[in-house]
Symmetry: C2
Subunit: 371 residues, 2 copies
DNA sequence: TTGAAAGCGGTACCAA
DNA sequence: TTGGTACCGCTTTCAA
């Protein structure tokens, strides 16, 4: 802390000029070749020399120059991105986030290889198996069914590939890291908002894709848990699984509305909310029943604007893609080990802040994505 | 779009083996120096040669090697960061965001120079004036009083420095960009939440620092505007200005509570919310009256956990710092002109998602900051 | 207007 | 076990 003048202070951030391999060599009176060998624990260096070099590197604040390294090694970092064709409103901006982060990368040539399979849990394993032989250093993917994909992930790891999961996790697999929205919290938010809006009680229902997907199960846990504490006046009806099929979701909703008690609130935990809204509209219950949806896409906008949908929980796909890429590239280039799991905070989109998220739907935009 | 197999598709990002400057030179029988000059439109190349080179570059799919470029240029960017000592709960994480983004920067050596002055509008101009002579390429700062700081900004611009405003704007100044939370929307969110919680109507009050600060005025506009449309059952009492003085805020709240009608809801639009909460507590009205606060700091946590505070509108200082840095470095290194104003979406912090934001208070954490 | 060549900071190979 | 050096692709200076 360096004080300048009377009440004006300054803090200098940089510890010191980051040194290079050359400075280390000179200050020890040895050659840069030896320094290189010592730093990388290659064979042919005496332990004493190695120790000296490491200490000096520390002292001089040595920082390898990634540009020089990747130039010499002519290293192009190849990153594969395996994502489903389906749910474009979510995965397209996620891809944009990856692209944007890659474009902002200096000093390393990045090759992105986007690969697509039909839908979560359908074709993903096949694609991975087919691609094990391809040349890439790391991969970003969304595991559909963790159980089914586990062996493939294992194989990738054995082949030395760094795996970053995005949007959903494959726990206890050999993945390097996972970037996702906190699903438990997402469910909790939905419950809290419904509780706020339904002070006089009633029944609520949880509609999801498939409870075998970790993300969906976590949302249910968060929803139920938060209902119990934040909104004890609300009771939870049996969960509906649509298996991400619009027709199933539509029919299941009609069935639901025919039964008693009719729910006072609905939380749809996947992007597959339109069929549910259609069923509600058909039964003239849209606006009557409080609805919380997930994610944001053009068809949802008028429903939020007209207050037929109370809120949507936005999972920030662009940011997820961006962070996933940044995490992976840092590991590949600098060897920085990321935290095993990075949980983003979902955005609660209401009518009043809806506008902030709309420009994002058409193209990549840092303003919402990064924040 | 290249289709592989039956229902497994692939998109390859790279078209073919990208050529370098050397290949272009050889295939045209000229020197690499000329090729470089042509590609970058530098002076001293005949238009004919330039055209030839550009065509060949296109044909051979020329892609510059970013590693070689950044190695040769060995860029060193100096960035000054001028922020107040005050309101540490906000500006410390903002600094952390800048640091984190700088640490993640590849291929460029970044020198950060953190400079501190006592408080917004007090010592900021002096510090800038004192630092005009220092050597730096760009600066990140929070303009306190835009009017007072205008001339200094002008001078900085004339000296060729890129200025990025963060947290608050200095409109019509020569700043390059501004990163801030959308204040109008923040106010709108507060109104919408209060409307959700107070369906039976009542009066609400807006407590702020100083309406001459653009940010505060915008929040009021957003609050009033959203009340009218989202919560017409609520009426708006006269605004209270605390001028960021805790004692004033405390006394003004006591006065408010003594008057009729007593407000059913309060929105505090600055971080200076504790005195208000204390006054409420003293009058045994905490929990009775719905309160929305701004920002997040340790003392606020128990109030949210105990539901005495309905929600807080978190302005994401870490992310603001991160985005400000990313914006500035992109401009300095790649010459990319940013949008003049980037509005981040504030986070709505409720009881159910509070936990996600807490780790952030102690130290830098990408998980919330980047998302 | 153009060519030739020196280096940026590492890595890797060959000689000592 | 070490030192010396060529080279990765590009930018830039100096000479032609």
């Amino acid at each position: 802390m360096l004080w300048v003048g009377y009440n004006v202070s300054a803090v200098k951030q940089t510890t010191s000029e980051p040194a290079g391999i050359k400075e280390i060599a000179k200050s020890l009176g040895i050659s840069i070749g030896t320094v290189d060998r010592a730093l990388h624990a290659r064979e042919g260096v005496s332990p004493r020399t190695r120790a000296k070099v490491l200490k000096m590197a520390e002292k001089l604040n040595y920082k390898p120059n990634v540009a020089a390294r990747s130039l010499k090694l002519n290293r192009r970092v190849r990153i594969a991105v395996h994502l489903p064709q389906q749910i474009q409103s979510f995965f397209d901006p996620l891809r944009d986030g990856v692209r944007a982060a890659a474009a902002a990368t200096l000093g390393v040539t990045v090759d992105l290889d986007f690969r697509t399979y039909p839908r979560l849990g359908e074709g993903d394993v096949e694609l991975m198996e087919a691609d094990v032989a391809r040349h890439f250093d790391g991969i970003i993917l969304t595991p559909g069914n963790p159980a089914a994909i586990g062996t493939s992930l294992q194989r990738l790891a054995e082949h030395g590939r760094a795996v970053v999961c995005v949007a959903s996790d494959a726990p206890r697999s050999s993945r390097l890291a996972c970037i996702s929205v906190d699903a438990f919290v997402s469910g909790g938010i939905a419950a809290e908002l419904l509780g706020m809006r339904l002070p006089n009680g009633g029944a609520v229902v949880f509609i999801t894709g498939d409870l075998s997907t970790l993300d969906h199960a976590d949302k249910l846990r968060g929803f139920a848990s938060s209902l119990a504490t934040e909104a004890p006046q609300l009771s939870l009806l049996p969960t509906i699984e649509s298996h991400e099929r619009p027709k199933d979701a539509y029919q299941a909703t009609l069935d639901l509305l025919a039964r008693k008690p009719r729910p006072a609130g609905i939380y749809i935990s996947t992007a597959n909310s339109l069929p549910v809204l259609q069923a509600l509209e058909q039964k003239r219950l849209l606006g009557e029943i409080q609805v919380i949806t997930t994610d944001l896409f053009p068809e949802l906008i008028p429903h939020i604007e007209s207050r037929k949908v109370l809120a949507t929980i936005y999972q920030r796909p662009f940011t997820q893609g961006k962070v996933a890429f940044e995490t992976l590239i840092r590991f590949l280039v600098e060897g920085v080990k990321p935290p095993p799991s990075t949980k983003l905070a979902p955005h609660i989109v209401l009518r009043s802040n809806l506008g902030l998220f709309l420009n994002h739907l058409s193209g990549p935009d840092e303003s919402v994505g990064a924040g």
